[in-house]
Amino acid sequence: MKYILEVKDLSTAFKLQSGWYPATTDISFSLKPNETLAIVGESGCGKSVTAFSLMGLLPEHGSRIDSGTALFKGEDLLTMPREKLRKIRGSAMTMIFQEPMTSLNPVFTVGSQIAEAVFYHMNVGKAAAKKRALELMDMVKIPDPVNRYDDYPHHLSGGMCQRIMIAMSLACEPDLVFADEPTTALDVTIQAQMLYLLHELKEKQHMSMIFITHDLGVVAHVADRVAVMYAGTIVETASVTDLFANPRHPYTQALLKSIPRLDKDNKDISPIQGMVPSIDNMPEGCRFFDRCERKDQCRSDILPQLMPLKDNPTQLVRCLLCE
């Protein structure tokens, strides 16, 4: 098995007052075992929507998948029966969310919430599930798991809650973990701990990870490959080294220029001019056209395809100027 996950031409749409509007368009990427893919982009660009559509977590009403395939270990996540997807979800494929405090159910103990995942997927008794939960809590370095087991989420700090979330997602030794901005809501010091923990666990458990973030700094630390998203499309994918060394899409370039870096002279920092087009007013052609520094050299009416570069076939770019 070359790829654990192969996504092709995934398009989703959301319903607004006046009709259906595309949220993501023609998303394609693939992921090898043990690989970490970072999906980067501004908020609202469709990162989370992509993850949710693969997990089958899009809201039942007001959203739909228009096209595409997503082969997870050879089976299409998008067309398989719901019940089958449910069984994969939470065991072979799990997700860690952005807000640990609100993502845990406030009326159940944290331990029981971990044990629950074990109970429903691993066909074990309640006692065994509890034992496994305690192991997991130990694994994610929660001190004194036996006493913490019966705590409620509101007793724990955000960092601790996120450890619980991680423990929950690792409960059934998944092959693929979606981490949806898992550190955004946490303090900077805890962010680093959490990234380290995730990395360590990923190595230990031999799993693949899709790491969703808007923070390019984090990307550099955790990812093997990067997919940059803009306005519902992937505009560039590349290995992490290629991307940072040789960004090709004007958006990626602008993005890299917009973040301050400690290791560089920050004189040439510049924000990206203009606004992201809104979902109900998406341009027909290149979605970045209006904001592009090189739009004088280009045309607005053609939507470019995501194409491999001639000089580096592992780096794909959606730009007319790069073809």
Binding site: R89, F97, T102, L104, N105, P106, Y120, M165, S169
Partner: protein
């Protein structure tokens, strides 16, 4: 926990006292005279005056008030003016009927209302949801005496399934339940409507919460997500509603008792009012206010059972 309960009960004392005081003075402002009730229509002025003196009704109101409070502190509600019986025992005689009716009404409302509310929330904007919502709004709008009359006509008179007089022998469980059915449905109707509506809206809110997404991401069966993860959280506003509308329920229990000719506090309060039996009226209002305080307490304690965040405070 016990400390909390005691504290809450102590806090209720000023309210109870105020209610009692209000009722005490208010009922004595009303025209009417218990002596007249006892002596009948052809009583003479002299005998009325004599009886009033014997009953102690001619003393200054403030003295009567002091006496009333004195015995109230000892848990004694005094004696009925009209019937000379102890009010404690008069109330104790009919209290089971009202408590039984109210509990059955609430239970029925919850047992039927909760699943309906869940259904309505899950299949939101479906035809079923629409019907449930309109239905519950109609249920909410039914004056209790009107729904009672319709129930009585349909099930007692035309179908003949239930007796017209819902005055059961308390020792005969079968009869007791049989006679409870219609009044309980009547009382449960409005409770059901409240529960459906609050369950629906709070469940809808809950279903949008992050932890529900987590539960889905965990791959839990839908039914577990709904009934375990969502419903337990959604229950809190539902409990609030039940507590909040207990006053409405009390009012409806009065009307239900009238329509179904069923003994209970409601009918007692009406005749106490008719007969100007001040003592009985006061006693009943004390009991009502106390019951309402009690229900609020139970509501709060139930929160604790459902929501650990409240429990630990």
């Amino acid at each position: 926990m016990l400390q909390y309960i005691i504290k809450r009960l102590l806090l209720a004392i000023p309210i109870l006292l105020a209610v009692v005081t209000l009722v005490f003075f208010v009922v004595r402002m009303a025209p009417g005279d218990p002596a007249q009730v006892i002596l009948g229509d052809s009583a003479s002025h002299e005998s009325l005056t004599a009886l009033r003196a014997e009953l102690g009704l001619d003393r200054p109101v403030i003295v009567q008030y002091g006496e009333f409070l004195g015995s109230l502190v000892q848990g004694d509600l005094g004696n009925s003016i009209i019937r000379k019986q102890s009010i404690n025992s008069i109330i104790a005689d009919v209290l089971p009927y009202t408590v039984e009716l109210t509990l059955a009404g609430v239970l029925l409302g919850v047992i039927i209302g909760l699943p309906l509310g869940v259904f309505s929330a899950v299949y939101r904007n479906s035809l079923g949801d629409y019907i449930t919502r309109i239905g519950s709004l109609i249920g909410l709008s039914f004056p209790a005496f009107y729904s009672g009359i319709l129930l009585l006509l349909a099930f007692s008179v035309y179908l003949g399934w239930f007796p017209v007089i819902s005055d059961p022998d308390m020792d005969n469980l079968g009869e007791r339940l049989h006679m409870l059915v219609l009044p309980a449905i009547n009382l449960g109707l409005i409770m059901m409507a409240y529960v459906v509506r609050s369950a629906r809206s709070s469940l809808l809110e809950t279903l949008g919460e992050d932890y529900i997404r987590t539960a889905k991401a965990k791959g839990l069966p839908g039914i577990i997500i709904l009934y375990k993860h969502a419903l337990k959280n959604a229950l809190i506003p539902v409990i609030t509603i039940i507590g909040l509308y207990i006053g409405v329920l009390v009012g409806n229990s009065v009307l239900t008792e009238i329509v179904f000719n069923r003994p209970g506090l409601g009918k007692l309060i009406l005749s106490a009012l008719d007969e100007r039996d001040y003592n009985l009226l006061q006693g009943l209002m004390v009991i009502y206010a106390f019951l309402i305080v009690l229900v609020n307490l139970v509501t709060d304690l139930t929160y604790g059972m459902v929501d650990p965040r409240i429990r630990k405070q």
